[in-house]
Each structure stands twice: as C-alpha cells, then as structure tokens.
Amino acid sequence: MKGDSAISSWQLAVLLFLSRITYFFLAEPRSEGPQALTAAIWIPISILANFLLLLPAYLLLQKNKGKGLLDIAAERWGRLSLIFPAGFLLFSVCVLVQTACSFSYFLTSTAYPQSSPWLFILLIFGVAGYAASMGYEPTARFGSFVFVALSAALLFVCASLWPQAQWEFLRPPVYDGWQSQLQLFVRLTLGNVETAALLFLLPAVAKNKGGVFWRWGILSVVVLDGIILFAAAVLGDYAQTQRFPFYAVTKIAELSIFQRLDSLHVALWVFMTLVRLALFLEVGGKSLARLLPSKVSRYAISICAAASALLAGCLTRWPYALERVGNLFAGGGPVLLLTVLLPLLLLWSKRKGEAGQ
C-alpha cells in the first residue's frame, strides 16, 4: 500500500458525488418515475438534514485537526475504541456487497444475460482493490476523469432526448400521500451512506474541509435532480416498468448514425461503480488494518476486497438477504449510528474528560 498524501476538497466532493450517483443508477433506480418530482424536492432538503446531522462529528474533527474519528476514539476509549473500526468495516462491507450485487445484477439483466455474476464481481473487485491499494490520491484523480466523462455523457443524452421530454409526466409532489414522502425523506437522508465515507476521509483533505460537504451537496442536488426529472419526463409511466430507468433512457438516445449507445453507458457505469467500490474499500481496508496485527495489516484492503467479493458472489443467489441489507440501509440505522450517535458519544466523553481535568 502506498503512503497517502492529501487530496483536495473538490476531489473528495467529486468522489462522494460519483458514489452517490452510482447508488441512484444501480441500487435506487425506482426513485425515478412516479415520485420523480417528490424526490427532486426532497433531495436538497435531505442534503440540509445531512448537514445538520453531521455537525457534531464535524465539530469533533475540527477540534482534533489532522486526526480521524478512529484516532480520536483510540485516544479516548482505549480498547473500547475498536468499536469504531469494527463498525466502519461492517458498514463498508455491506455497502460493497450491495453495490457489487446490484452492479452484477444490472449487467446480467441488460448487457450480459448469459454470464455468471461471479465473473463481474471478481473482476470489478480486482480492479477496485488495485485502485484502493494505491491510496486516496489515484482514486481521486481517476474520479476526476470519470466526472468529466459522466458530464459529457449526461449532456449528450439530455441534448439528444430533449425534444422527447414531456414535463406533464411529472406528478404533483403529494400524489402518493404523506407516508411515502416521509419514507423517501428518511431513505434519502439516513440512507446516504456517503456521509460515513465523508467523515472517514475528511482528515485526508488538505484544506477547506468544510467546503467538501457543500461542493458535494450542490453537485448532487443539481445532477441528481436533473437526471431524475429528465428520466421521468422522457419515460413517463414506462419508467415504472423498468428496473433501471436511466439505462432505459440511454437505450433510446441516438447520435447521428449510432442508434443505440447503452453499451457505451455501461462502460461509464463500470467506471462509476469502480469509484464507489474503491472509496468504500479504502474505508473498509483502513478500518480492518486497525483490527489486524501489524504484520498483516498491509494486506487489509486485499482481504477486505476478497471477503466482500466472496460475500457478494454468494449473496447473488439469495436476493432476499440482499434485500434485507438494502432495507437496513434504507431504514437509516447504520448511518445514524456511525455518523451521529457514536461521534456524539465521543464528543460527550471528550467534553466530560476535559471538564474532569
């Protein structure tokens, strides 16, 4: 594993944005369609809610400049602090497994119907593990290129399908009732797993740490709202029948003599999934390194990647288990625990310790 050097706030913001958008493409595709306008309204609100929830943890990190949550916990809690790396590890593995399974499902149900999901899972974890083992910086730099490619692809799709967009397809925000609104809000806010990655990786940012959240937030709101609304306006009720609505949008996009470009978008989504996997492998690998003896800790990312790949490969056979993992995240428990409760506890114990002194 190479030594990590600092990344810029823009780089981390782009990484988190790509990870978030991958989730919307692969794992949460049904938020587009019937609830498009509702989702578009709730996304900025959920970002604000995320900001409020992250405040205690952010304050904690600001008070301990240059240290991560794991370091602060180790200083305060001794051996009990291992709950932090264990929590982040478990959390990352779940995100990795869910992402890899969704990705392999996407590929086997669209471009490669006859292939084994194991093939995709093993290969993508191989490359993501390589990227993660190179450190934050190469992944962040790679993310910048993916961001440019994604922007170009989205602009192209929007330009080619603009005449087909029918905005009357968008339903009024309260069309599906208040209960679903609340569920959507919880899912968008507490299901935002990138907030945990943000807290974990924030110490790696060289300067303007506070800017990461806002840059990421603005990027997410603008692009996600744009995509969700546009996909709904182009597909209308057809979106409801599609497991991956944005993929359906790319299938009907045409460029001059090229009548189908969905396979090229598959390539782009491979890049984005790689970024998400590499990001959470960093989190998982670094957490695992804290739990392992120093002799084997340098293989932490490889171990994390191998274990996640195995789990993901096995879980493709048990979709119910996978759905449970998805529901667990959608409920918001893990995010709430890692980004709010544990940092609050740490902050409280630190305050108490300072008051005692």
Binding site: W10, R141, S144, V266
Partner: protein, 511 residues
C-alpha cells in the same frame, strides 16, 4: 513461501551472475619514477594493443606521452604539445620547473588537469586525452587532444519537425553540451558532470536551470545516479529504469529527446536534463504523461493549428490502444452498437472468415508487428521491400484468401497509423493494444472499461519525484492547462513561466 522463493532466486542469480566490481588497480598511486609508473599502467591495462607511449626528452628530462590509438588528433597533439615542448629551453631544467612551465605557461589547449592515481588517469586517456608523465614527478598532466571519429550533427531521425532547428544531439557528450549552451546563454544554466558505470565510467551531464529547479528533485536524481550498480552504460536507456520512480507503472516518468531545443524548453520549466556520453538520446526528468503529446512544432505553428494537432494526437492515442479491442468487443458481444448499414457490411465481410474476431485481430496484429520489426532491423532498401510485401500479403492476398476481413484490415491500418502519431508512447501502446484485444474479445465492453480504468488508475498512481504524472489534468489546474489540451499563443504563454514543482498535488517543496 515468498521468502523461500526469493532465497532460491538469489541463489540462482549468484550462480549465474557476478556483481560488477571496480578494478583493483584503480587506487594505485603514481610515483616519481616514470618507468615504474609505466610498467604499472601497462600491467593494469594488461598490455592492451591500443595503448601508445611516446618517450621524449625535454631539456634533458625524460617525459612519457601516453595516448590511446585512434582517440587523439595528431595535428592537435603536434601543435599544442610536441612543438612547444620541442622548442622549449629552460634556464633551470628540473622536473618541477618543466611541470610548472606546462601547467602555468604553456597553452596546452583548454582541457588540462593533473591526476595522481591510475583510477583518475585511465578515464582521461580513454576519453582522448594525452597523458604527460615527467620523470621525477609523482603526478601526470592530462591534456585534451581528442580527435576520434564521430557522427556529425544531423537532423534527429525520431523527432523530425516542420519548422525550427534541424540540429539533433550526437554521440559525444561535449558536443551535446555546447548545443544546449548555445541556446540558453544564461548564467543560471548549470551543467554538472558525473560518472556512472562501474567499468565503463560513462560521462553523464546533469543540465538544469538553478533558478527553476527544485533542490529536492536535484538531490534525488543525483542520489539515484550515484547508486546505479551497472558496470557498463552504453545508452541512456541503461540508466532510465534507475530514474523511474514507479516500477509497477507501464508508463515511464523519464522522457527522452534527441533535440537540444526540446531539452532547453523542458529545463526552463524546472526539469533536469541528463546527457549520456555515447548516445544522442538525452533524458528528461520528470516527464509527465501529457508531454508525450507535445512536440516542438506545437510552439512554432499558429495556436489554433497547434491545438488541432494536439487533439489529433490524443485521439490517435486512444484510437491505437482501443480501436481493435473495441471493434472485437462490439462485433462479438454488442453488435447492436453498429449502425444498421455498417452491421450488414461487417456481417457480410466476416461471414467467410474462418476465425473468431478476437483471433483474427490478434493474428493480423501479430503479422503487422512481425513486418514492422523486420522492416526496422533490415537495411533500408530491404525494409521498403518488406513494406510492399506486407501491403500485398495483408491488404490483398489475405483478404482474397478469406483469412481476414476487409473491415479488420481497415482497423489495423488505422491503428498502425495512429500508433506513429505519438512515437514516444509506441512501446506502451503496442502492448496495451494486444491486451485490449484479448479483453475485448473475452469480456466485451465491460472488460474494455475495466481495462481502461486500470490503465487510468495506473497512470494516476504515478508520482514522478513527488509530482503527479497526470498533472495538470488531474489534480486539475487551469493555468497549466493552457499548454495541455490547448496551446495558447506566445503572447500569453511567454508572459509567465510554469514551474513543475508548483503543480497541484506536488509533494516537493518549491523554491
């Protein structure tokens, strides 16, 4: 297990190879007895046939002139040594007086030095110096009388240009140094001579601008050059791997150039140039990925045309690595990507070919590489003939015989053409092209995307001497982009100079 394996390899290596060691005689000091010195020198040189000694007497003092055959100019030797010494009359003819006269009053050319050991003497003699050994003096005076044959300065074969200088580096290092000095008449331009190679003691010259280069970078380069364990260095390619900071990357962060103007431009941005005696290829350290797409013509053409050329090169790079693989991947896994008319044509052409697309692509690329390699190594007239045979065999006979399809010929032709647009990346793209064909043929677009991602991550992971190799594209810096994807006009470009250590993501300190 890995330790056991490493031990086995080490044992095997030890039984086959020996580590380079300096000759034992190198530390032998010269004495006041010239005859004794000469015997020691002859013994150290194992009575080699090309060592020449001329014994003369100057004012009654025995003097021995030593040279290597073919290395000196007889005219220079006569003019600056033999004639002045022959006409010399000393009032007090002692060995010390003769040495003082030679050192301080005679004009024995500009290159003159005194050596005290055989280790110091031999590199001078073997570089075309004459050694003047005065009996009674435990030192030898060396004077430059070089006159060996070398290739004259000519246009660099691998870096031709439309506009600008036609001068390219040649083999002797001194001539190359003058070519750089003539172009940058600044007191800040510094040249530093070093030696590398345990046996060859090859002259190296570090060239940099003292006001631009980062001291940390310079220190690191000097350390790496000092630690080169190789015994013989015949070309700059021998030391290039020791300067590469990332051994696992397929892309090098050390560049080469045959052009003195290119080297001058690079060192003016804080890079270090390294000239190696015996080769016209100078090294540039560090070298970023985007520099492969820059050429001297970019700076002499109008900006809009230079930008066009640069984009063309980037496009050619992606064409040459991806096109055959993409064609195989689309044709095998995603034929729906082809426009209808093209799909029909490709299907009709591929119908008669007995091989699967991936095998066909590999076969034709293999044949192309065979012919390219054969044409490269053979004398030029025969090389041309190979080209004609290749064109006939591949372009016509193979298609007619149904071994390959015409669209595949087109793909290979376009790929081969594109690969020559960025010659500095030729080795990398050749290997990657084969890789992408195999990946495309087995995994389709998914595999191609994974392969491309791996390549970009690999590129992004390279930190050349603490400076990201992909800078300024990623980490992004707007100011530096004016000479990457764009090439702004000289009115803007010349106003402020880029220092490479100021690029974003850099870990070395600027000065």
């Amino acid at each position: 297990m890995p330790q056991w394996f490493a031990k086995k390899i080490e044992e095997k290596e030890r039984s086959l190879y020996v580590s380079p060691k300096p000759s034992e005689c190198e530390s032998v000091r010269l004495t006041a007895d010239a005859a004794e010195n000469l015997s020691a020198i002859r013994a150290a040189l194992h009575n080699t046939a090309d060592f020449m000694v001329r014994e003369i007497t100057v004012c009654g003092i025995p003097v021995k002139l030593m040279m290597f055959e073919g290395m000196f100019s007889l005219q220079t030797l006569t003019e600056i040594i033999l004639e002045p010494l022959g006409d010399l009359t000393l009032e007090d003819p002692t060995p010390q007086a003769l040495q003082d006269w030679i050192l301080h009053r005679a004009v024995l050319g500009m290159d003159q030095s005194q050596v005290q050991t055989l280790g110091e003497l031999f590199p001078f003699l073997m570089s075309g110096f004459a050694g003047i050994m005065i009996d009674g003096i435990p030192q030898t005076i060396v004077a430059g009388v070089q006159g060996f044959q070398f290739r004259s300065v000519s246009e660099p074969s691998a870096e031709e240009n439309v506009r600008g200088s036609r001068e390219g580096f040649t083999e002797p290092i001194r001539i190359n140094m003058t070519m750089v000095r003539r172009r940058v008449k600044s007191s800040d331009l510094k040249m530093e001579l070093l030696k590398a190679g345990v046996k060859s003691k090859t002259d190296l010259c570090l060239i940099y601008q003292t006001d631009m280069v980062a001291p940390e970078l310079l220190r690191d380069i000097r350390r790496r050059l000092r630690e080169i364990p190789t015994d013989i260095i015949l070309e700059s390619g021998y030391i290039q791997p020791f300067l590469d900071t990332d051994i696992v990357s397929i892309f090098s962060n050390v560049g080469t150039t045959q052009r003195p103007d290119t080297l001058c431009a690079k060192i003016s941005e804080g890079r270090v140039g390294i000239l190696v005696d015996g080769t016209p290829f100078a090294l540039i350290v560090p070298y970023f990925f985007n520099e492969n797409f820059q050429s001297i013509d970019d700076y002499t053409h109008r900006p809009y045309y230079a930008v066009f050329e640069r984009w063309l090169k980037y496009l050619a790079f992606f064409f040459t690595i991806l096109l055959p693989g993409l064609y195989v991947a689309v044709g095998t896994f995603h034929p729906e990507l082809f426009p209808e008319a093209l799909l029909l044509n490709v299907t009709a052409a591929e119908q008669d070919v007995p091989f699967p697309l991936v095998l066909e692509a590999l076969l034709i690329h293999f044949i192309y590489e065979l012919m390219r390699e054969a044409g490269l190594r053979l004398p030029r007239p025969i090389g041309h003939a190979i080209g004609i045979i290749g064109a006939l065999v591949i372009g016509d006979a193979a298609v007619t015989a149904g071994l390959i399809s015409s669209p595949m010929v087109m793909v290979v032709a376009l790929t081969a053409l594109s690969s020559f647009v960025v010659p500095s990346l030729f080795q990398e793209v050749t290997i990657m092209r084969f890789g992408f064909i195999i990946i495309g043929g087995t995994l389709g677009i998914f595999g191609m995307a994974l392969g491309l991602a791996w390549m970009i991550v690999n590129l992004c992971s390279v930190n050349a001497y603490g400076i990201p190799s992909m800078s300024p594209e990623s980490p992004f810096q707007m100011f530096a982009m004016r000479d990457v994807l764009l090439r702004v006009g000289w009115k803007k470009l010349g106003r402020k100079k880029l220092k490479i250590q100021n690029l974003p993501g850099t870990e070395i300190e600027s000065r």
